[in-house]
Point group: C2
Amino acid sequence: MANGDEVSNKQIIFRDYISGFPKETDMILSTTGTISLKVPEGSDSILLKNLYLSCDPYMRARMTISDSYLPEFVPGSPISGFAVSEVLDSGNPNFKKGDYVWGFSGWEQYSLIDNPDPSSLIKIDYTDVSLSYFTGILGMPGLTAYAGFNKLASPKKGESVYVSAASGAVGQLVGQFAKLMGCYVVGSAGSKEKVDLLKNKFGFDDAFNYKEESDLTAALKRYFPKGIDIYFENVGGKMLEAVLQNMAVHGRITVCGMISQYNLEKPEGVHNLTQLVLKRVRMEGLNVSDHYHLYPEFMELMKQYFMDEKLVYVEDMVEGLENAPAALIGLFTGQNIGKQVVKVSHE
Amino acid sequence: MANGDEVSNKQIIFRDYISGFPKETDMILSTTGTISLKVPEGSDSILLKNLYLSCDPYMRARMTISDSYLPEFVPGSPISGFAVSEVLDSGNPNFKKGDYVWGFSGWEQYSLIDNPDPSSLIKIDYTDVSLSYFTGILGMPGLTAYAGFNKLASPKKGESVYVSAASGAVGQLVGQFAKLMGCYVVGSAGSKEKVDLLKNKFGFDDAFNYKEESDLTAALKRYFPKGIDIYFENVGGKMLEAVLQNMAVHGRITVCGMISQYNLEKPEGVHNLTQLVLKRVRMEGLNVSDHYHLYPEFMELMKQYFMDEKLVYVEDMVEGLENAPAALIGLFTGQNIGKQVVKVSHE
C-alpha cells in the first residue's frame, strides 16, 4: 500500500533457479509494490526512474547457481540488469536530479540504489541519439564489441573476420568496426531477415543462415577459402568446432559468449582443440568489466563515427515492463532482430 | 651394394600411414642401403653423420595424412626428425667438415642434406655439455619451453603454474623456468618414479600421478585452491577440461601439445569452454618454428644457468638406431623417463 509519499512500483520478480531453457513463468510481474520517490534523509542513495531495460544473453547465467563472475539473481527479488535511467532524487554528490545514467538497475519502474558507483553507473552526456542506445551500441554491448574486436583481436587491414550471432547487439557493431578497419567480414545469423540485414544494412561482405547449412565446416570453407584470421565468438559448440577447423595460421578468437550452450544440461564437447596448436591460434575470453577504462576513448570514437554517419544500429524495442520476460526469453530462440530493449517509461 | 666410395647406411623406413596407436612395425629397419660420404661435386649439399636422434610427440602427426603444418612422412623413405649430427663433408659455404649441428635430419646413420638452411640447421658452438642436450634442453624442446612459458604465458613472480606431462623434455624445463621466476609450480606425470623426479630432482613445489586421481578437477582444486594462473598444456582432453574448471581469472594457457589425443580415432570433447569467458582466460597454441629468432637470447640465458648450476636435466637414452622405433612408440605409453633420445653413433 502506498502512503502519501509512495507510488506504485511494478517489478519483474525472479521466481527461482532453473535448468535448461528459461520460460516466461520463471519471472513474475508484481504490481503490488510501492516505493518512495525520495531517497532516505542523510543517505548517499539515488532514486532512479528506469526508462529502458537491456536484455542480454549473459543474464541466463544469473538464473543458475554457478561459479560465474556475476552474482546469481535472488529468488523473490527483481531481476537486475543494464538499464538507462533518470535520476529523480539523489543524496550522492556524484549524481544529481535530472541526470541520465546507464549501468546496473532493477527490472522495475523505480530503483533505489545504495552507494552508487560512478565507475559502473555512468552519466550520459551525449544526447544526439536516443537514450536507448546506451543499453546497446553506446553502452555495455558497444564497449564489448570495441574491446573484444579492436583490442583483444588485434585486427589488421585486409584480414578476414567471421562473426556469429552477427545481427545481435554486439555482432552488428563488430562487423561494422571490422569494415571500418578494412577487413573482409562475413556474418551468420538464424533467419533470412537477419541475413538480409547483415548484407544490406550493416555492410557485411557476405552472410549466411547457419540453420540452412548442414555442414558448417564446409560452409565456412566456402566463405573463407584462405582461412579465418579473426573469429568473434558468440555461439560456441558445433559452430566453434567448425570455426577451429577453418582458422588461419596465427588467427585470433575473441570469446564473447556461447549462447548456444547456456541452456543445455550438458554443454557440447569441442573435439578439435588441437587446431589451436596446428594453427597457433590465440583464443581469449572477454568480460567487458575488465575494459571500462576504455569507455572514454570508445565514446570519442563513436561520437565521431555518428557525426560522420559511419554507423547504423538496429534495435528491437518492446514497450512495457510486463513484456520484459518474453523479450529476454526470445534472445535464446533468436526472436529478436537486433539489440533487444524494453521501454519501461517515456523519457 | 657399396662401391669403393660408399659405406653401408642403416635406415628406419616409414612403412605407411596409420590410424590409432603407432606400432614398432610401422617402422622398418633397412640394412641394405649405402651412401657416399662425399657430397656430389659442385653441389651445395652437406653430408651428416647422425649422432643423436630426438623422439618427439609431434612426430605422431606426421604418420597420418592431415592438414598439419608439417609434411607427412613419406612411405618407403626414412623417418625424419630433430637430430644432432656431425658434418663429414660440405659443399656449402655455411657449413664445414667437423661442424656439429642440430636440426632436421633422417633416421639413418648418414644423411645427405641438399641446400641446408642455416636458420633451421643450427651450428653448435657450446660444448660444455653433452651434444645430446641439443636434442632436448638446448634444442627444439628447450626453445619450446622458453617461448611457451617465458614469452607466451607472460609469467609473473608469485603466480601459480601447472604443468602436465611434466617430466618430459619440455615439461621438466618449464617447471624449472617457473621456479626460477619465483612461481609456485605443480606438475603431473604418469608414474611414482616420475612424480618423485618432479619433486626431488626438478624442484617442483608439488606433483601428482594423474593415473591415481579418479577426479582430476578435485585433484587440481587441492593443489590450486586459489586457481591456476598459468597452465602449460601438453595433454589435452579430460585433463584440459579439469584445468579449465580450475583456472584463475585472467589465467593463461600455453597449448604446446595434446599427447593424450593424438592416437584417438575421435579426440575427446572439451565441454566447459565457457570457462574461458567466465575467467577471461587466454589460450594460445605454440609452434616453436615461430620462435627461432629467440634462440640466441635463449642460449645466452641457458649458458648462464648452466654456469650457475641452476638447471638439471634428465634424458632417457637408448643405444642403437634399431631401437629408435620402440623409443618413439614409448612416448605414447609414457615409457620414457625424461627426454627420449636415441644414440646412433659415438661422437
